[in-house]
Symmetry: C4
Subunit: 336 residues, 4 copies
């Protein structure tokens, strides 16, 4: 199933001139918590060999340790800086081990004070001169969009980042940011990182619909397998060692055990078998098939898992209209 010779497609990140690999590697959950330095190096090298050029990260992942790990590994791999793209995201801030102190401006904010310092911290951990893509990890209703746009512009003008975007912002918030940047001649948001998979579609397909043409929004989508639900592994309860079993991710558990969705996954499995692939590969290919998606961020805790997921590229050409209609029929009414 793992077709290592399948060439990686590249897509423009929205209307920008940057080209990202259709499949990319994210460090969320896994780096530091489930994978150590040698595992990270093994997976990043394999991803790069398969044509992956985008590695997604965030300040908050493993409380900064995910960035530290990626920075360490990138230094060892010695890639040419033009050949790979690194992101980070900012909003929640770092836990500094001092829970009692008020941390009013270093947590849950997109204000100028936090953003400027947080980017500097990420650069240090990543051991980079610049981060390719910086995201506002969530919208902050308590900071004016104009203040955040100015801060993003400032970071880009200082050469510390190349492009900026948002993650899980509403269409209205994204447009507000774009408009204030256009009016004040600042760098505009280029991309958004939304959740997107067979059971979570409305934002990408409906809410953002006008933004693709109006402002050229690009998407770097996360959770293509619905935290593992779309691998079928939760059809018989929560397996040990899975995300559903991680304490800090307990908020996911109820969704992962949803009976109707797991039943649908069983039906999708039949479709996958007809195509000679796994249900996870089918689900990944379905996300990648949407031309609005610039890149599908894969998470993996083992090399074999990454290799299997990269194999979704081979499934992409098999997604005929008929196959897609079967998928749509199976998942109808189940997607947010």
């Amino acid at each position: 199933m793992n077709d290592a010779t399948m060439p990686m497609p590249y897509r423009r990140l929205g209307r920008s001139g940057l080209q990202v690999s259709l499949l990319s590697l994210g460090s969320w959950v896994t780096f530091h918590n489930q994978v150590d330095a040698s595992g990270v190096r093994e997976m990043m090298a394999a991803a790069r060999d398969a044509g992956v050029n985008f590695f997604d990260n965030a300040e908050v992942y493993a409380n900064g340790e995910s960035e530290t790990l990626m920075g360490q590994v990138m230094g060892q791999l010695g890639w040419n800086r033009l050949d790979y793209i690194v992101s980070s995201k900012f909003f929640w801030g770092l836990d500094r081990g001092t829970p009692d102190a008020p941390r009013i401006n270093g947590r849950d904010t997109l204000n100028r004070k936090y953003l400027l310092q947080a980017v500097d911290g990420s650069l240090k951990r990543l051991k980079l001169d610049f981060i390719d893509l910086i995201f506002c990890h969530r919208a902050d209703p308590h900071t004016p969009v104009e203040e955040t746009v100015w801060a993003m512009h400032h970071v880009i003008e200082q050469g510390k980042a190349l492009y900026w975007g948002t993650s899980e912002w509403s269409a209205d918030e994204i447009r507000a940011a774009w408009e204030v940047a256009e009016r004040h001649h600042l760098h505009k948001p280029v991309m958004e990182q939304p959740q997107y998979h067979l059971f979570h579609r409305k934002r990408v397909e409906q809410e953002y619909a006008r933004l693709y043409a109006d402002i050229g929004l690009g998407l770097t989508t996360w959770s293509p397998l619905a935290s593992g639900l779309l691998t079928g592994k939760y059809r018989a309860g929560v397996p040990a060692g899975s995300r559903g079993a991680i304490q800090s991710l307990s908020f996911l558990r109820e969704g992962l055990l949803d009976a109707r969705k797991n039943a649908a996954v069983g039906e999708l499995d039949a479709v996958a078998q007809d195509l000679g692939c796994s249900v996870a590969q089918l689900a990944l290919a379905w996300v990648a098939r949407n031309p609005r998606v610039s890149t599908v961020i894969l998470g993996a805790s083992r090399l074999a898992q990454l290799q299997e997921n990269l194999g979704a590229l081979a499934v992409l050409p098999k997604l005929s209209t008929e196959v897609v209609q079967r998928i749509e029929a199976i998942t109808a009414g189940l997607a947010e």
Copy 2:
């Protein structure tokens, strides 16, 4: 009276994304003149423990020594830079001990030459890479607002400050600054530092009224106790060691001994006793109750005084409509 367990509220600094503690600590009059390094460290640590995150300063306070002292103490305390906010203010310039030389561009001005150099001087004394809030300490009728706005913008773009504002500017001047910044795509003023207490209300409550909605002006108010008048200590004349007894503050004396105001303070004391608090705490709570006020800057020459003032937080929920009506009746006609 001093309820150390009362959690500190935080408010946005006007429309900005920065959150300031409702009570904050100012260094005016006290630092260097009345309090030495160990006293400053003690008070700043106590304030921080109580949730204070904003420490107000100015170039002119103790002719630069107040900044030097605060810089020294901050270095010792080793706080995380995200957790505290420092301000400075610029207009009068430093006395350089050379009274005979003309000091035309280093005093009473907001011109580009003075501002750029003054900010550099403050950064050096404060031992900081950036000052969170910089204020134009007074309006300068001899410098175009556009020149001052460009200079403030320049300082922020250089990363030497995060936000800028004004102190004791007229509503018209503040709006002029905001408009020139909007037109030329420069950083806009975010906050104003006005005098505000029971006997000085018109600017905050009437003159600035439109600015809150129009430009989102935030307030960091000073002199909440009317230089001590609202503590009741001047009801029997000027006590030794009080502000009213300080030579350089002699301009305050007449106001502090105002008979009608001191009589009103006596009546307010009765209200305070009914609430189980001091008249100073009542007066502080009254200022903090105004939602336009982002933070009430406290001054203190002793730790006990600071602790008492911080206790005003516990009075805040006791300010019922009835209590406020009593206060208004007592002070009617006495406020500028």
Copy 3:
């Protein structure tokens, strides 16, 4: 024929305030491939002695070696930085000797990531603090013009370049870049580097016609001798050692052997003999005669060839209306 005493004319680079010598020296094809360091030094010194002040280069020429060579020689010559103008051009990127790796953002692009890094690389190879003129070597349909204009602006604001322009862009693309710069208050494109010679005229004479007046476009033209066709050397087939014989330039061969054009060159030779000059000098003078041309970039693999080409200056005053009419008649219908 080589009139070393003929003073070099200087022309403004379009509407800009920079003055370029009417004849200039380009490194394309020759530097590193046909000429080594001592040859380059000899030619650059001779060109400078003849009044040449512009030396044209590009990242892609000899895969960066042309810049390295020019940087080395400029260091040895020790000229005053005000007295010479250096260019580089960016689009194709460098071959990094790793053909297997995907090089999606380092090749055939004008995106922000590539441009910012490529300019830094050129500065290093050229051993310069700034490049006078940077060109977008080709238009990139996959990057928004706005992104490219912002990147050019960024490089100029950082002091790494003085002016920017395009090479072989359509009139529409050039105007789009100019307009987005005007709207967002960014540095505008100043010059274009088009191919221009007796057999390639339409772009310069027709397509760009409105741009000269509307935006003040300047031209630094390349290939004035049509890759040697206009020297007459291809009238009897491809000589050994000529461009037509170079493997990597094989795409030129068919054009160089065009029978009708070579016949026309024979007729032009007769005109040249009447004027007492070579046909190459005649063709160069014809290009220089167009007032839209700011500078004619000469390529040369030997000092004698450069000297002969510089001699075209002496032909310029001999191009009477009658002579030009003879040239036009001979080449009628042969020009793209």
Copy 4:
């Protein structure tokens, strides 16, 4: 006559917030050529003692040596940087001792290449981090005003200068520069340095008339004594050692010997005697009396001469309407 106790008045530099002393010291002609380091130090110290805070210079004065000298002396005097204002001016460029080389972009230009490098050179010679006032020494018809304004803006944004202006530009050119800066949100020109004295009045009094109100133009005027004509020293021919006798200033000679003007100087001398001052002091006071003049730049080759000129301050209050009418009557028809 020399009233050292007369306090120096200060005027705003046009609409800017910078205050310049009404009399200032210029280095043109004298520094390096007529006055050595110890003489310069003596005069600068005396001027400063008299309240002078502005010291005028230019790159071209003594071919850079005037800046070198002033830089050396300022270092020795150890003044506070807020207390003095230094200018330089750019257009003609430096003679580099290589007359044969073409110096197309380093002479008689206001293009970006020249200006950025020239300012860096001046900073180095002056041993300063920033120059307070930079002037475009003449208008350059061969460079677009927009290019020059962007370069001035760039220098100010880099912190290398505080304000920029022009010298001997037409009203139309000054307004063009102001308008392009307003449109593109760049730093605007603040001041102009025109020739202004009793025999040269039209530009200041007529041509610039609208600019004072429209853009708030300030003036730093030069040649208040008409190169010495208004001292009366040319009434009996050219004295040895005077400007009229300097070879490089021979273009001045004819004007200095103008019979009608020298006769008028004789009549002005009578007015001066009535006021108890010298004719030079009278002429200086007449220039200073114009409220459009921010500062009158004095040149002096000897300390005594400077002292005498500074004495013009005492004459200023004696210029009654009657006295001015006498002066106007004497010079009627003689002024350009």
